[in-house]
Assembly symmetry: C2
Homo-oligomer: 347 residues x 2
């Protein structure tokens, strides 16, 4: 460990999440002695500012990771599959924001508020969970810890920035075209690599990522499987319906849960979450206070509100969970993992 | 009964729903001998076309209903409270699209696909349910009939047209302002008569109608109470979270249900709904076929897709229900009730 800090690499430095990673590293004043910015060949050569210095983004190759101590990957699953092992081979710890390694049993899947301890068992690669999963488990973990948890049913309201910068552009251009009465051709959403593309502006599309054979989308299965893994609860009942909205940034979730304890009040849940790390409680119906995506952008916290007891089941609760999908859902959680690695002296 | 048809009055003829009522009466070729178009004083004097004839909208008074046989009300709860009894006193049957009488035990709350028989017990007023309730019970009734039903958890994705023409305008103007980088001041949504107003364009707002003391909104309580009443299932477990989206027209719902029967497959549910009245099944993940609000506008049916079995509970199913909130959610269901009254010789 150098006194000045660590040699950090960001892979996918020019992407929507990569840019937020750099911004977050600056904002958190993360101890960096050397910064290496990497990308696919397509984006190499681009210039990026960091702490008032100009960096030129280089094409990521196995050799790029010589001397790197912490490598934050967010350049797509195939780049991670190819290069994360190369980075590890050269001594780096990889924090991977893609889905490539999340369900690998040798890879910890970490949300620091929930399972920071899992970092200790890492073998070089640490996976950053899916955006929609992260914000949910941050809200669920204090409840599980205090009251037990056995059932989760979530319906999501997800922003287009989760599908990248091109999807943001598609939403804006489509909205303009519709407002002007012009023609438009959907080309990216709901899933760039899928066959059909649908209008997203002024619409709601119940497909995020491709469909599996069981009728669920991969996004839904990510929420189900990753929640169980992060919370170490393979027996937890989790169901998800994932929907893309015409929102630029900020995922929202309508979540129903059942706890183990009897007689818990909504007020108790509110007080618990108010005191919990990484959560801002916004819950005062009398003042129309509740979380909304438009208010969460640029903030690291998970916002929770609309907490209320189910009218039929004593152990059932409903809530509304909102967070910036590019920050806690991606960049901030990755940087937070890096901070935990430093704190736990694992790097 | 006159050979040529009935003397029909539309109260609220210039509003978003009133206009759709007239359009639907035309489209269905409803037997009308005389048409009386009524409104508040504010809109009186406006000219409206119906079957190529120009009508002048008159201020609704008790005397306006002399000779009227069927009165379709959609001018707000206070107008219905004041004038529906006056219309009934003069011999009209009122089909009321407001919430004024829905939970009145002397008033049938009717969705013809579900409880057309309830019309027979009417005492002059028949209530048209809330838009988000109607489309849900149309999809649930065949399932209840075939497999039994004991639990419903719904999260809604509701369009702004449910809040009237001014809300549509607010969405469009706000979207333009945001795309142009201009300032804007929310003035209508989420609830015109509530204290605070929030951005709806590129946002998701978890409030529809005002809050009750129990933390639920009136919209959520409408869905819960009306579902039980329409389906004659006071014991049914129903929970709702209602959210307003930047969608002009077309409500969507992510619905989780538990049926009584064991061993039911998703395929059985699909086949059942495919054959059911008022439903169009749009469910083929392999072809990315599922309902979306942008595709439902102007259509009378309820569209159902994303039907899949819960991964943990044998009797649990998830589905995605979409319909035009101004048609099946309001105007079409009202006209359909009028058609049922004719069919059952109740008028």
């Amino acid at each position: 460990m150098e006194a000045k800090g660590y040699h950090v690499a960001v892979v996918g430095a020019t992407g929507a999440v990569g840019q937020q990673m750099l911004h977050t590293l600056e904002q958190r004043n993360f101890p960096i002695s050397k910064l290496t910015l990497l990308s696919s060949e397509r984006s190499a050569g681009k210039k990026v500012m960091f702490r008032d210095e100009e960096y030129i983004v280089e094409t990521a190759t196995p050799e790029s990771f010589e001397g790197v101590q912490i490598a934050l990957f967010s350049a797509g699953g195939s780049v991670s599959k190819q290069l994360a092992p190369e980075a590890v081979k050269r001594g780096a710890i990889v924090v991977d924001n893609t889905s490539a390694y999340r369900m690998d049993e040798n890879v910890p899947l970490v949300v620091p508020e929930v399972n920071e301890e899992a970092l200790k068992s890492h073998k070089g690669i640490i996976a950053n969970p899916n955006c929609s999963t992260i914000q949910m488990v941050v809200a669920l973990e204090p409840i599980r810890h205090q009251f037990g948890l056995n059932k989760v049913i979530v319906s999501t309201y997800q922003a287009v920035s989760g599908a990248g910068a091109a999807a943001i552009n598609e939403l804006k251009e489509q909205a303009k075209a519709i407002l002007n009465g012009d023609d438009f051709t959907p080309e990216i959403l709901p899933v760039k690599g899928d066959e059909k593309h649908y209008q997203i502006a002024f619409n709601a599309v119940p497909q995020i990522d491709k469909f599996q054979d069981n009728g669920y989308t991969f996004e839904e299965m990510k929420m189900i499987n990753e929640t169980k893994k992060i919370m170490s609860m393979p027996e937890l009942h989790v169901a998800a319906t994932c929907v893309r909205l015409p929102v630029e940034t900020g995922h929202s979730e309508s979540v129903y849960i059942e706890v183990d304890a009897e007689g818990v009040s909504a007020q108790q849940v509110k007080e618990l979450l108010k005191e919990s790390d990484g959560i801002t409680l916004q819950d005062d119906p009398s003042q129309q206070i509740y979380p909304m995506p438009a208010n969460c952008v640029g903030k690291n916290d998970v916002f929770v509100g609309r907490i209320r007891k189910d009218l039929d089941r004593d152990n059932g609760f409903h809530m509304w969970i909102v967070s910036d999908n590019l920050l806690k859902g991606a960049a901030w959680n990755s940087v937070q993992i890096a901070e935990s690695l430093v704190k736990l002296q694992l790097v």
